[in-house]
Amino acid sequence: MTGTTVAPSAVLKPDAVRRSRLADPAVGIWLAAAAVIVLGWIVVALAGGQLLTRTNITIILSNSVALGLVAVGQSLVILTGSLDLSVAYLISLGTLVAAETMASGSVLTAVVAVLAMSAAAGLANGLIVTGLKVNAFIATLGTAFILRGWIEDNYTGPAGKVSASFQHLGYDRIGPIPVSIFLLAAVAAVLWFITRRTRLGHHMYATGGDEHAARLSGVRTRRTVVIAHVLCSLCVGAAALFLAARLGSGAPWAGTEARYDLDSIAAVVLGGTALAGGRGGVLGTLGGVLLLAVLDSVFNQLSIDPFFKNVVRGVVIIAAVALYARRGSRRTA
């Protein structure tokens, strides 16, 4: 599973560079999302509905926020060649901590507390993966179990109370645009910046691409992985804060019932990030999230059986990735 073996093609293709830029999945997924919007609009219109009303746009966007925040964080970890299955429980715990701290203390302390806790969780994940050399899948699954036990042992239901001022994050909007979108945008922008413009970002791609090669080139691969995990968990913390603001209190199942763990991974891969790491980026992930949100809204409009939704989701995810595989092969062929 580690690294990409460098397979040199005997004949150098001068246009390879340009084509590989064109074949960038990030572009593809946004086009796909656009297509889904258009198609959805038509279908819903035929069903006598209206997809792009003010409310729906608001809803589509605010539904993208939570998953979006988690997914962009997740894409960092996956880029670096790792994985995080503990996000769902971390969100739940985050909402609880947020709500409870706010019930007693100030909003600021709550935000700090949540982010601090998330960072700690991320640090733990990172250290277990790099230090104990436990496969990320198992390591984060383990931390997920640990968090779960902690939650179930300490909380018997919704707890805490989010101060009214903070709930603006969950409910305010500018025209049809929920303010929470700006939170997502800001976080995504920062992460995009980190991955593309900073050394850390380059090292993430390197570590994900070929851990050994990166290390030989003097990259502190372990440190990179740990940082990636911390950043991811911080995003999860942000998602938790948003959900807390939206739910008005902490909920022990806020993260798990929405399956944020698997959904975020799905969104990341949908966005064209290679599960093996080393390729992809934050922008694609956002596209993936939007696509899923639009699909959901369309299903709502057509009031499709919830069970059938899952079928479609599954098909979409597989089909998309299959498409990427084809592209990739055509490029390196």
Partner: protein, 497 residues
């Protein structure tokens, strides 16, 4: 000359097994210092200690007289020690510039400065006279030789003063090796100290000022190149004279009828291939890297099949479109990249040796499974037992396992792509003898080699390739010059690849 790098009394052991024992070595500015020794002699370990990839148990490392204790490659780099590994440390999905500056990205106001990165890369490439590579190309699109160049640029970019090169010419063809040699000399000319590991004694003698010989983790001797000769060095390496390097060639009566023939074979990379492989004969394929030698082997083996022309195997018309078909037809291919394509590294010797017969349980698998012992004996494999994982074997023994794997399948035609790459001198001879024996038993053998002495020494006749065609045939014992002349006749057109 001033001493640049000095390693004194270095020892290193893993889990109590000593790999390096009290080895001392020093390197002067502007010196090319060759390091030779059989596989397992501890060359690589020593180099890795120098480059900060291993932390020595004992001993000191001085650079310009100041003591260092590296715990991570980046520290060694910062101190000015660069290393080029046999296996490239390159990222296929990143650009040349990104690779060159990996781990040392230049920054402006905390941000990576792509501009600077690409300009500097271009500049360095220009200095090396490398025009075909541009900083924005993806490494995955480059040829091996060019990757090698990128590796060197990578080292230079961190303006190292000591450059460690671990068998840099192993993947290169003669004339590319030639270019590399010039490059290395120029670097030395600039005052860099170069530690040069190689199995190719000839280039060692061409290049180096001094030669240090290691054996079983101990320092045997350090000789001034002009005051010694090949035999002396080989003696120091293996502790014995290697009298006859290559076994007897085939006598005419030993050469039988045609086992495999291609007429007008061609595909994306090959064209107009006419070739006949005869029982008992070893046919050598010469040519430059990328001239289509490997492509030919892969085509014959059905891995990258011919798309045109006719092919007959043992008088049956058959153009294999998959390795499986080829194997069924009695063709076997010993690939050049043993670790990635020849072996399942974490499986036992037995499992590897039986892989083919298990994949295709057709002819004589029972006996193969039963006679695994004889099989290993047959290839003179000194494996502790058939249960040992092949990743623990030396390069030579690994190669023997690969050969055993094919012998178990009872092939009629045996294709070797770089049969002795990364194999130490002692094992080389063994492999050569084995290959000749197989020919004597009536197999048709084809050998591709970048090492001209090996090619000439082993082949009963030599076909030279260029541009995906066979450009000429030479009789046994042809000179290196003849081969190079044919191979480079169209070298200018061969520039890409």
């Amino acid at each position: 000359m001033t001493t640049l790098l000095s390693m004194q009394h270095v020892s290193k052991s893993f889990l109590g097994v000593s790999v390096l024992h009290d080895v001392s070595l020093d390197l002067e500015a502007g010196e090319i210092h060759a390091l030779v020794g059989e596989n397992g002699a501890g060359k690589s370990t020593l180099m890795k200690v120098a480059a900060g990839e291993h932390i020595p148990d004992a001993g000191t490392i001085h650079l310009d007289g100041t003591a260092h204790r590296f715990t991570h490659p980046s520290q060694a780099q910062a101190a000015g020690v660069g290393i080029i590994h046999q296996e490239f440390a390159l990222l296929g999905h990143r650009t040349v510039a990104e690779n060159v500056f990996l781990g040392r990205e230049p920054t402006r106001r905390g941000l990576v400065d792509r501009r600077a990165m690409e300009e500097r890369t271009a500049q360095l490439l220009a200095e090396l006279g490398e025009t075909a590579i541009t900083p924005r190309m993806y490494v995955r699109d480059l040829s091996v030789a060019r990757m090698q160049t990128v590796e060197i640029v990578k080292a230079l970019a961190s303006d190292v003063r000591v450059l460690v090169m671990d068998e840099p010419t192993a993947p290169l063809a003669e004339h590319e090796a030639g270019l590399l040699h010039d490059l290395v000399r120029r670097l030395a000319g600039r005052g860099l100290g170069i530690l040069y590991i190689s199995h190719r004694l000839r280039e060692v003698f061409d290049l180096s000022r001094r030669i240090t010989v290691l054996k079983d983790g101990r320092h045997v001797t350090t000789l001034l190149t002009e005051q010694t000769d090949t035999n002396a060095v080989v003696r120091a390496m293996v502790g014995r004279e290697l009298s006859a390097y290559y076994p007897q060639r085939a006598r005419p009566e030993e050469i039988g009828d045609v086992r495999l023939a291609v007429r007008g074979g061609g595909n994306g990379r090959l064209s107009g291939i006419d070739i006949e492989l005869r029982a008992g004969e070893i046919t050598g394929i010469g040519g430059l890297q990328g001239s289509g030698r490997t492509s030919l082997a892969r085509a014959l083996f059905g891995d990258a099949p011919f798309t045109e022309g006719t092919m007959t195997v043992a008088n049956h018309t058959l153009r294999p479109t998959s390795p499986r078909q080829a194997i069924r037809a009695g063709i076997a291919l010993v690939t050049e990249d043993r670790k990635a394509e020849g072996l399942a590294l974490r499986q036992s010797v037995r499992d590897n040796a039986l892989l083919v017969t298990r994949a295709i349980p057709a002819r004589g698998r029972r006996s193969a499974a039963g006679s695994i012992g004889q099989l290993l004996e047959r290839v003179r494999l000194h494996a502790r037992s058939g249960d040992q994982q092949v990743q623990f074997l030396s390069g030579g023994n690994q190669q023997k396992v690969v050969i055993a794997k094919w012998l178990a399948a009872r092939p009629r035609v045996l294709l070797f792509d770089e049969p002795t790459r990364g194999v130490d001198v002692g094992a080389k001879a063994a492999v050569h003898t084995l290959v000749r024996e197989l020919a004597r038993e009536g197999l048709a053998v084809l050998i591709i080699s970048s090492e001209l002495p090996e090619l000439i020494g082993m082949s009963d006749r030599i076909l030279v390739m260029a541009d995906g065609r066979i450009v000429g045939e030479l009789p046994a014992g042809a000179g290196e010059e003849d081969i190079m002349r044919l191979a480079t006749a169209s070298a200018d057109r061969e520039a890409v690849a």
